[in-house]
Symmetry: C2
Subunit: 323 residues, 2 copies
């Protein structure tokens, strides 16, 4: 297989685009695709500062790398969750993020199209240090040992990412969700016709009072393309999935969509992009869930529909009471 | 596994209903489910005459059997398509329909809750005899040997079923689509977000000027339940699929949904029924395709959007010109 651009040996063949590229041209093609998505979905402008939710995995580090190469002011946020899984999962993830950002700290890294001497910052937050319990510990206490900590983890991450993005004045919080992730989430919501969730799903969730804008710049790229991008760019990321992700519904949905894609290349992309197109054309416009009446949480100040404390603060009250 | 109703050995376990039943109770449960669907979706009333599209397969013969047992006036229509496939597929199918209806021709069949001496009629129509070419021949001529005859077959069947239902004064045309069929069709339309098709999909397509009402009384029953029903009721049907159905997209979609169902019993049912529920609640109301301006086909009189001849009549003009 030859590179469509230069005829050299291709490193990747993207059947859904009928496009094979060599390492160099693939390394240029990916950021160009991301730039297109940023414009198409009006994610943010060059004047705005973006906070990348960096997990140490391939998607978030690739995203951060791409935004920096495109010349955007993108900092990172690593949330230490205190997950061990027998191999210090959280510690390893953090070290991958630190190693990534350290490459940009030399003042004149020619690969970063930064107009000034600015270098990206990695903000690090440790949930166990800040709140006195790791995610598994918190989940264990409130769930009394039943089930996985994933919903507790999601609640905590959403709250803390939003808090930091808001408090540090970032215009948008960027996550590394790729097309496979988005298609799997869409598939899940579609299999049960959660119309309210469908109406909210998209590459941009606009800011609301007290909530940062959420953006997904990788939403048109396949997961395997992000892995290939990390390889081509020499980005070292954590290969292991979160030890709690095993058996997650989203993984089952990804497998089904992968099967659909094997039978019909491009089917997964078509599923997601035709959904976005139908939405642009007004499908679901009338099914936006009306914004609930929000007020500030008495403890943390973030918007909540609950009468006194938000779900995050209520969680920690319960965790403390179980100590 | 024991029957939930009587404790006898169960012949089927329906995991999506958490219900196991013996042969007798399953044979009663299926018609009760169909009766519920007929009422729930306002398909037709006991005063109305229904025409069952009988193919000789398990679904259509089970449907006809169920409607007769429920006391409805249901006749059948067999369309001879002239498909051979090396084993006289069409001839075999017709013989299954004839054998089925002949059981009801004895004047006092106690299993048919008919209030009078009425017995069901099987109308038989032969496409090759009426139009001078079988479906494969017609498709061969207009497609010049390319591709499968399925779209030509669909066009012809829709036209002729509608014509007979209309000309013979039936209130509704009932097809044997089961939940697996409907979920697969929904899946196909969802994978490409065909909003117009989604808006039209449902257990009832109301009559329009010149078009008979279309109903799908088996839409809440799984395919395996229909096979089990035929077994329990001693209905002899044609086991072979149409020889042209191999590799159809709808079969691939059925396999994916079957995989989803294996992982999570009830997922397929939930997918279809939650879609119907969302539609009932107004989802897609604004996306009904406005009725196109129709006028009568110059040749057959059926409504069409085309300027002179409808697609069916144009097809036969082309077939004749290729003789």
């Amino acid at each position: 297989m030859k590179c469509r651009k230069c005829g050299e040996t291709a490193v990747i063949n993207m059947r859904q685009h009928k496009l094979a590229l060599c390492a160099d041209h693939f390394g240029q093609w990916v950021p160009a695709q991301v730039e297109k998505s940023i414009h198409k979905y009006k994610m943010f402008t060059p004047e705005e500062r973006v906070l990348v939710a960096a997990s140490g995995g391939k998607d978030s580090l690739a995203l951060w790398d791409i935004l920096l190469r495109l010349g955007y002011h993108a900092d990172g946020l690593y949330l230490g969750l205190g997950i061990d899984g027998g191999f210090d999962y959280s510690g390893e993830s953090q070290r991958k993020c630190e190693a990534f950002v350290s490459k940009f700290e030399s003042s004149n890294n020619p690969e970063v199209a930064s107009p000034d001497s600015w270098t990206p910052t990695l903000h690090i937050l440790s949930i166990p240090e800040l709140y006195g319990a790791s995610i598994p510990q918190a989940a264990q206490r409130v769930q009394r040992g039943r089930g996985k900590p994933c919903s507790v983890c999601g609640l905590i991450k959403r709250h803390e990412m939003n808090r930091i993005a808001h408090d540090l004045g970032y215009s948008a919080l960027a996550t590394g969700h790729n097309l496979d992730d988005e298609a799997a989430a869409l598939f899940g919501n579609t299999m049960t016709w959660q119309v309210g969730y469908l109406a909210r799903q998209g590459p941009v969730l606009p800011a609301q009072d007290g909530f940062a804008r959420k953006i997904k710049p990788l939403c048109r790229l396949y997961e395997r393309e992000m892995a290939a991008y990390c390889l081509v760019r020499g980005i070292d990321y954590i290969y292991e999935e979160c030890p709690y992700s095993l058996g997650a519904t989203s993984i089952a949905h990804k497998e089904l969509l992968a099967e659909l894609e094997r039978r019909s290349p491009g089917a997964r992309q078509n599923f997601y992009l035709s959904f976005l197109k139908a939405k642009e054309e007004g499908f679901l416009d009338d099914h936006q869930v009306p914004p609930a009446r929000m007020h500030a949480c008495e403890r943390c100040g973030q918007p909540t529909t609950a009468p006194d404390l938000c779900a995050f603060c209520r969680l920690w009250v319960r965790v403390k009471s179980q100590e």
